[in-house]
């Protein structure tokens, strides 16, 4: 077993980060209070890590050791788990996440996380004042929105550049038609193989007679 000191340090840092962020979103804190006493056991496969998220009042406690009742157990990668929490339409099966116990807690957390709206300007304002904090916040919001839009467009733009500009791959429509033909050929081959096998069996039986 690894030294519990390091895990305790990691858990303490994560817990502090979560609860500090929650300080600046009163709505989420109020919703969390409705889940007081609920416990989610996380069995993360990548990175390999086990922990329990215990909701106490309007705060989240991160524990490496928990002997009480567990409301919901979730097993999967950290990225899949985060996507599951952030996207209320995501399903565990599609992301390779397995769940045991009550799925209601997960649904509640998905709902809470989808409305998460942390007012980052508040702690910034305490440091630099209201007006500079608002200016910095506006710049950061614009940058974040541009980055998010760019990232969502990036895969399509990259695919177009590779196939249309550089002509390294066939266009998508041509590739899809080729893939359909290939699938049809594969099925036809399998059917032919089955017929040949049937004929071979019939010949074998006749020879035996």
């Amino acid at each position: 077993m690894s030294d519990p000191t390091y895990r305790a340090g990691f858990d303490a840092a994560l817990e502090t980060a979560i609860n500090t962020a929650l300080q600046y979103d009163p709505t989420t804190r109020a919703r969390l209070q409705g889940l007081d006493g609920k416990v989610m056991a996380l069995n993360l496969t990548a990175p390999k890590l086990q922990c329990c998220l215990c909701i106490e009042g309007d705060q989240v406690r991160v524990r490496q050791h928990w002997e009480g009742d567990v409301t919901t157990s979730v097993s999967g990668s950290a990225i899949a788990f985060m996507r599951l929490l952030k996207d209320p339409d995501a399903t565990p099966a599609a992301l390779g996440v397995s769940i045991s116990g009550s799925s209601a807690l997960l649904a509640e957390l998905q709902w809470i996380m989808s409305d998460l709206d942390i007012d980052w300007e508040a702690p910034l304002a305490q440091l630099v004042g209201d007006i500079p904090a608002h200016s910095i916040g506006s710049v950061l919001r614009s940058a974040s929105s541009w980055l998010s839009a760019s990232l969502s467009r990036a895969p399509v733009a990259a695919a177009e550049t590779i196939s249309e500009e550089w002509q390294l791959t066939p266009p998508q429509a041509q590739f899809e038609a080729f893939a359909d033909d290939l699938a049809e050929l594969s099925l036809a081959t399998e059917r032919l193989e089955a017929r040949v096998r049937l004929l071979q069996e019939q010949f074998s039986r006749r020879e035996a007679e």
Binding site: D3, A8, E56, Q64, W66
Partner: protein
């Protein structure tokens, strides 16, 4: 001439009946700056050791917890939140100064209602049999004159199935770490004690008492001998500190 029974006080041999008084002097001296020195000496890591202790305690709402040698009330404050209004935490310390500092500090932090401060000797706990669900003693057992007597006393006041957690300095697992730790304890620690609390001797005693404390396996055996079952320990920070846990059958 009649032989007097002796015990160790740091590296010194002192008559058994004198040890409690001399330990008391040390803690009267350091009480006011105990928290600052704890943070300074451990680099704040004592909070992580205590965090793990709380997790292994398995404390629940409504339970009765005894925090022996509770000092300035770090563990008590956290237990108080966990056991809630229906539970109770007894903050016990043999030293009046430490208990007073702990009680005041808890009140300042708004921890009240389910916390009872009691001045008590760990060897002769003033509670009925089978009273507590969990007992913790953090960085206190090494100062107790008769550790076996104290462990038996703790066993008596625990409920069957209750658990004892002993958080204490222990023996580093690696020789290299032990050497570094020795240099730190005997050179840097008394210097910091002199600088911050103007009391090098008390902090020299702390370092010496750590070296005289039983190592991990010995303490585990002592707990088993006292009557605890399923005894185990977790080394923390390379064995500088160990958390022992035993269950009352």
């Amino acid at each position: 001439m009649k032989d007097r029974k002796t015990t160790h006080f740091g590296y010194q041999e002192v008559p058994v009946e004198e040890k409690a008084g001399r330990v008391a002097e040390v803690f009267h001296s350091v009480a006011a700056r105990y928290d600052v020195m704890n943070d300074l000496m451990s680099g704040g890591i004592h909070r992580l050791w205590k965090r793990f202790t709380i997790e292994l305690s398995g404390a629940r709402p409504g339970q009765h917890i005894l925090d022996i040698a509770g000092g300035t009330g770090d563990l008590t404050a956290r237990f108080s939140r966990i056991v809630g209004a229906s539970g109770q935490v007894v903050l016990a310390d043999i030293n009046e100064s430490m208990l007073r500092v702990g009680r005041d500090r808890l009140l300042d932090r708004g921890v009240a209602g389910n916390v009872v401060p009691v001045q008590a000797d760990a060897q002769y706990l003033p509670f009925p049999d089978n009273t507590f669900d969990c007992i913790t003693i953090a960085f206190g057992l090494r100062n107790v004159t008769d550790k076996d007597l104290a462990l038996r006393s703790m066993l008596r006041v625990l409920k069957p199935g209750g658990r004892l957690l002993v958080l204490e300095f222990s023996k580093p697992e690696s020789k290299l770490l032990e050497k570094v730790y020795d240099q730190y304890s005997f050179r840097l620690l008394p210097f910091m004690g002199k600088l911050v609390a103007n009391d090098a001797d008390s902090y020299r005693y702390l370092a010496e008492s750590i070296r005289m404390h039983p190592d991990q396996e010995t303490l585990k055996q002592m707990m088993a001998d006292a009557g605890f079952v399923d005894c185990e320990y977790h080394n923390m920070t390379g064995g500088i500190v160990a958390l022992h846990r035993g269950i009352k059958p």
